[in-house]
Symmetry: C2
Subunit: 190 residues, 2 copies
């Protein structure tokens, strides 16, 4: 089973190392990891937008050749996950492939939204406000992120794996949640 390894760690300087660690974890669980950064694309002479489009085409083809996706849903530049990874979750979900995800934040989605606006967290057990300061609803479905993401993963028969990683250097590098997803994906369904 070929597994597309989606996540914002592709933006880190040690992206290749992280990809290699993910591929090795997959191998230990009998899976073949496919990391978007692992191809050598010739982008020489291309204008920026053409280069970006070529990378898109490469990732699109990699996704179509995969049987599942494990997405790093750790919050990225705001309360929600990386939008490129969200796109990839949607892409694989539409193809009917198993979609799994993990987040290295265990804070609730409403609490992360409040923090984004510099607001105090709601004391334990209390309900968050229905709307943010801009008047937009604060989703409160006991889900890790926007319901389209969690919904797709639940729909596929999985649950988002969460754990709290506090060390800033490890937020996008800790692979404990990733390994839990790989183990779950490799476990025969009953």
């Amino acid at each position: 089973m070929r597994v597309y390894l989606a996540g914002p760690e592709v933006f880190l300087p040690d992206s290749e190392d992280i990809g290699a660690r993910k591929i090795e974890i997959c191998r230990r669980h009998g899976l073949t990891g496919v990391y978007p950064g692992d191809t050598t694309l010739d982008l020489s002479g291309l204008a920026p937008r053409a280069a970006g489009q070529r990378i898109y085409g490469c990732n699109r083809d990699l996704m179509r050749g995969c049987d599942a996706v494990i997405a790093n849903m750790t919050p990225f530049r705001g309360p929600s996950m990386d939008v490129g990874t969200a796109f990839e979750l949607g892409y694989l979900a539409a193809l009917g492939r198993p979609v799994l995800g993990y987040s290295n934040s265990a804070r609730s989605f409403p609490q992360r939204i409040l923090a984004h606006f510099g607001l105090d967290p709601v004391p334990g057990g209390g309900d968050p406000p229905a709307r943010d300061p801009l008047g937009l609803a604060i989703e409160n479905f006991d889900m890790v992120d926007n319901l389209m993401l969690d919904g797709a993963i639940l729909d596929a028969g999985f649950e988002v794996v969460t754990r709290q990683v506090d060390d800033p250097a490890q937020i996008y590098r800790d692979l404990t949640g990733f390994e839990a997803c790989a183990r779950r994906l490799a476990t025969p369904r009953t």
Copy 2:
């Protein structure tokens, strides 16, 4: 042609009005708009997560019944678009349907990332730094958002429509860019 109307305006209190305006614009261009908020779901008695999953299932079925998507890519709680909308763009792209998008911010993606971290914008014409303060790459492909989003839209033969909307009350309500997408989608390809 049935067009899925994706965007974070579903989180506004006047979501239904905005949906009705989008559907009317579609109608004027010979398109049938399908707004995710326009179904009446019975969520009574469901736990929050089950309710969220049912809404997901409803939106998934609406997407599968559509021939195209026009996505509101306006930045949402951070420098990038709404992750639910990004998921939906990926979903429709995987089905091979035309994907279009508009953003009510005309600021460049690197400038929005710098602003997210409270950093000064780069003076006109200058290159942004290669990495953000957390060490993550700042994408600089002359694209509106993460290359997976813009890439899918370029791949479908379209371009993201951008305009600068400064009135905070109109950021998610101004439909000028939306109408440009509807017009473009309704124009026969040569």
